[in-house]
Symmetry: C2
Subunit: 642 residues, 2 copies
Amino acid sequence: MNINNFSNPLHLNKVKVNDNYFNEYLNLIKTVVIPYQYNALNDLIPGAPKSYCISNFIKASSVCSSLKAGIPVPVFPVDKWEYKETECSFNSFLGWCFQDTDAYKWIEAASYVLVNEKNDALKKQVDDLVDLICSAQLENGYLDTLYIINDRSKIFSNLKDRHELYCFGHLTEAAVAYYNSTGNNKLLNAAIRFADLICDYFGDNKNQGYPGHEIAESALVKLYYITRNEKYINQAELFIKRRGTKPYYFDIERCYNRTDNSIDYEYNQAHMPAVKQNEAVGHAVRGVYLYRGMAEIAKVKKDDCVFNACKNIWNNIVNKKLYITGGIGSTAVGEAFSFDYDLPNDLAYCETCASIGLAMFSRRMFEINPISSYFDVFEQALYNTVLASMGSDGKSFFYVNPLEVLPVASKKDERKNHVKTRRQKWFGCACCPPNLARFLSSIGEYCFSENSSTLFVNLYIGANAQFTNGCIDVQSNYLSSGNVILYVKPNKPFKLALRIPAWCDNFTINCDYEMINGYAVLSINKNTNVEISFDLKVKLIRCSNLVRANIGKVAVARGPVVYCAESIDNCENLQLLKINPNGDFVFNENGTIIADGFVEQPDESLYDEYKPVPLKKCKITLIPYNSWGNRGETEMSVYLRV
Amino acid sequence: MNINNFSNPLHLNKVKVNDNYFNEYLNLIKTVVIPYQYNALNDLIPGAPKSYCISNFIKASSVCSSLKAGIPVPVFPVDKWEYKETECSFNSFLGWCFQDTDAYKWIEAASYVLVNEKNDALKKQVDDLVDLICSAQLENGYLDTLYIINDRSKIFSNLKDRHELYCFGHLTEAAVAYYNSTGNNKLLNAAIRFADLICDYFGDNKNQGYPGHEIAESALVKLYYITRNEKYINQAELFIKRRGTKPYYFDIERCYNRTDNSIDYEYNQAHMPAVKQNEAVGHAVRGVYLYRGMAEIAKVKKDDCVFNACKNIWNNIVNKKLYITGGIGSTAVGEAFSFDYDLPNDLAYCETCASIGLAMFSRRMFEINPISSYFDVFEQALYNTVLASMGSDGKSFFYVNPLEVLPVASKKDERKNHVKTRRQKWFGCACCPPNLARFLSSIGEYCFSENSSTLFVNLYIGANAQFTNGCIDVQSNYLSSGNVILYVKPNKPFKLALRIPAWCDNFTINCDYEMINGYAVLSINKNTNVEISFDLKVKLIRCSNLVRANIGKVAVARGPVVYCAESIDNCENLQLLKINPNGDFVFNENGTIIADGFVEQPDESLYDEYKPVPLKKCKITLIPYNSWGNRGETEMSVYLRV
C-alpha cells in the first residue's frame, strides 16, 4: 500500500447536503422515519411486532439499581437468540438478543440529523434515551441488557451466538456520532468504559475470544480516532488476527471436542485465519462488517497482509457474488453468501444491512487505494438495494431485497417465505430500518474524501463542503440530466478528483483533466466552476452467462439506477415479456422507461412439441428498482428475457 | 361413470414378462436388489445408514412374549418421527417411525419374484421374516413395532404424525402379494386381524380418525377383493369421507383449540373434505396414495362424486404440477406439491415413491375410464423418474430426482441439500428403494387390463399373458425400433385395444382399427399377428411458458424416454449450451442422441453492456435421463436452451 494514496472522509459537520434527489429522502428520515422508529422502539406501532428495545433498557436499569442497593436479582435463561413473550417471564429480557442495537442505531441516525439542524424535541428524546442507557450500565462498564437482566454470571460465555460485542460496537458508533454532533460525552464515556472492560477481558494474554457478530472491530477503531488511545486499535487488531486460528475459540467456548470436520465456522467468518481469507462466505452482514473492520485496521496499521485479504475478498464479492442491485447474500439459509456465480433472483436474500455494510467496506477500501470501482459499488448499493428497502411512506421497510417476486410464490412456497411482497411496518428482528436511517442521514459523510493534495468527489450529491484546501459547492442533476456543476474555491492549489462511474461511456468536463484510476483529476488553482456532464443513456446489461438464473436475460439501467418491471404496469407472468435490444428506450420525466419489446401468449398445455414462439410487439414499462412495491402487491422482475 | 367401461388388471400369475428392455431390470431386482435390500433391512451394508427394521421386529416379538408371560415391559417415548441410536435407549424402537414398512415392501417385491420362479432360498427368507412379523403382533391384532416396543398405552393417539395405519397398509399389500404368490395365508391372517381391530376401533360411530399418511384405504380395498367382506371397503370409504371434514380430527387428537387459521392440514390432504378437493396439495406421496385409494373406492362404490374429485385432482397434477420426467413434488419443504406451474428443475423433490404412486393412481383411473392419457402418464413416470432412481449396479438409489444438478450447489447450498449428485447406498428413511423393487417386480400386472369385451394393452412390454378371452404374446422393440408384434389367440371374439401414446404422431398397424379414447381398437375373431410400428423420432419438447424455470428452453425426448445432458459428455456449465432446433438429432445404438447445437464462451466479467452473444457450433451428447449419474459426479440438465 502507498500511504500517499490514503485519504480521509470529510466529517459530517463539514458537509451540508442539499440535493434534488436526496432531499426528499433526508426529509422523510427526519420527519417520518426517526419519529416512527422511536415509536417502534417503544412498542407504540399498532399491528407491528414488538421491539421491546426500550423496555429492556428500563428493566436493565432497574437491575442495576437493585444490584447497587444490594437487593437480590432473579436469574433467567440466556440460551436463545429470541426471547418470546409467550415463552419467557415478563420480567426477563424480551426480543432478539441484539435488540439493544436498534436504540443505538436510532441515536446514531438522530445525531446525524442534529448535526445540521436545531431540533430541541428530538435532542431531548435522544438525551433521555442516553440517560436511560447509561443508567443500565453495570459498575464495571458492561452494557448489554440481555445478560444484565437475565444472568450476570454468564457474561461473555457465548461470543459465538449472543451479541454482546456487537451491541458494544453499535453503542460506540452511536456514542461517537452523538458526541460529534452534540459535544455531549456522556454516551461516549459509557462506550469507553465498556471498551476498557473489553480490552481488559480480551487483551493480549487474556481470554482469546473474538466477536461472533462482527462490528466491535470498527467501533474500536472509531474510539482510537477519537481518543488516540492505541489500546483500542490494538484490541481491534487482536480480534481480527485471532479470528479463525486454531484451536477455534468457538470450539473452546462450547467445550466442543472436535472429532469431525463437518462443523465449521464459515457462518461467522471464523473457519480460517481472517488474514488468509480470500472468499466472502457465511452470514453476509457479519462478513462485510468484518471486512470493513479489516480495511480500517489495514489502514491504521499500514498492514499490507490484511489489506491484501480485503482486496481478495472485495474482488470475490464484486466479480462473483454481487447482484446488479448492489445486493449481497444469495441465500436465506444463514442469510449468507452462496458459492461463486450463484445469484438466484427469486430466492435472493440481499439484506438491506448487507448492502449498507458493503458500501461501508468499499468506502474504507477507497480510503486506502483511491480507485473508482470502490465507489462504483457503493453507488450501486446505495441507489438500488438501499433505497429500495424503504417505502415511499417512510414507515414500511424491506429486510430482504429480491430481484424477482411472484406473490403466489411468497405465499405458497416456504422456500420463499423470506421474500415479502410488501414492505413491512416493522420486524421483530429490526436491524435494517434503523441501519438505513443512520446510513442515509449520514450520506454527506460519504460524498467526499481528502488528503493533503487531493479532494475526491465520490458521489454526485448536491452538497456544500469545507475541506482542508478550500470549499466546494456541488449542484447536481446527476440522475435526471447527468449534469453536475461544482463551484470550487481553493485556499491553495489542490487536485480535484472526480469519479467517472464505470456505467458512463461518455462524459464531458469543461476543464483539462487527467484520468487516474477512474478519476478525472483537475488541477485547481483558482475559483473554478467545473461542469461535468455524464451521458445517461439507457443501457441493457447482461449478467455473466456463468450465472444460471440470468442467462438469456438482460437488466435495464440508466446511470447507476437499475430498473425493473412490475406486472401492474405490464402483464401477469413477466417471464412472457422480451426486451427488443434494437428497439427504443424512452426515458420519461416521471422516471419510468418505456422499452420496445414483445410478449408471448401463455401456453395452454403443459408440454408440447417445440415450435418457434409467436411474439406480439408491446411496450414494456420499467420503473426504478428502488421504487418497486409502492403500489400494492404485484409481480416484479429486474431481469427480462432478451 | 359408465360401468361398461370398467376394466380389471390381469393378475401377475397370468402375465410372464420377457422383454428386451425390462429383463435386465427384473434380473437386477431378483439377483441384486432384493438380496441387497434384505441385507439393508438387517443392517448388514457397511457404510450405509442403519435400517433397524428387522431388529425392531425382534424387539417387538420379545415384548409380545413378555406380555403373554406377564413379565413387565418398559415404556419409552413415542414423541418423535425418528428415533436415533444416539438419543434413545438401545432397547427401544430405533429408526423412523414407519420403518416396519420397509420389511413389508421387501416381502411384497420378493413375493412378486416368487410368482414366476421357484427360489427356495428366497422363499425361506420370506417365510422366516413372515414368522418374525407374526410373532410381533399383539393378541388383539395390533401390529406396529414402534408402539409395541415403546408404549402400548399410546396406540392410535397420534394418527397425524405417526404411521400406524400406513404400516397396516403396507403389511396388507405385502400379505396379499405373499398369499397370491405362495398360497400361504399366515401373513394375510395377520393383516386381517389388524384390519378387524382397525374396523372395530375406527368404525362408523367409533373413533373418527383417519390416516395421517394414507395407504390404508387401498389396503382395505385389497382385503375386500380377496375376502369379499364389505366391512373393509366400508372402512376405507369412511376414512376417505371423513377426511378433512370439520371439526378436524387432527385438531381433536392434538387437543388443539383452533383460534386462528394459520394451521391447516394441507400437508396431509386433510384441509378440506377429500371429495371436494380439486388440487393436488401437500406431501406428494401421501397425496397420490390418497388419490389412488379414492379412485379404488369410486370404482367399487360406483361413486361419481369421488371419481370427479379424482379427475379434478389428476387433471391438476397432469396439467400444472407434473415434471416432464413424470416426477411430482416441486419442493423439499414438506416433500410436497407446490403451486400451479411451479416446477423448478434444480430444487425439485420428485421423490421416487411419488412417481410410483402417481403411476398407481393413474392406473386405477384407467380402470374406471379407459382413456389413453392415464397410461401415457404412467409410462412417463415409469421410463423416467422411476427407472432413474436405481443405479446400474442395483445397489444405489436416488430418493430425490431433480431435473438439473450442479454438484457445487448440492455441496455448498443448503437449499439443495436434498439433491444428491450420486445415488446413495441406502437411506435412514428408505421408503423409495423397496417401493421401486415391489413396483418393478410387479410391472407385468400393469401391462394389460380387461373387461368382458376388451383386452387393453397399456404398456408395450414383452410378455405372455392369459386372459378371459384368450392369450397374447407380445414381442416388443418399443424403445429401440418402435416395432411391436402381438400374437393373439382368442377363445372367442373380443376387442383388442392398443394404447397409442400421445408422444407418437405416426404409427402403422397391419389390421383395421378404430380410434377410441386414444386406443386403436381391433376386432379379433381368429388367431392374429398384430404388427404395430411407432415412429420414434427425436422430438424437442417445450414446457409451458407459464413455468418460469423452463422458458426459452427445450427438453429432448424419444418416445417416452426423456433425455438429459451431462457435463462429462459435454462441458462444464451446461447452461452455455443451446440446442439447434433445425439441426440433426442422431440416435445411436448405445441409446445416446447427438444433437446439433451451439456453445457460448463463458463471460469473464460479471456485468457488462449487452451485446449479442457469439455462438460456436458444437455437438451435444444426450443420454436417457433414467441412466444419468452412473459415471461419477457431474452436472446434469434435462432442459437446454433453444
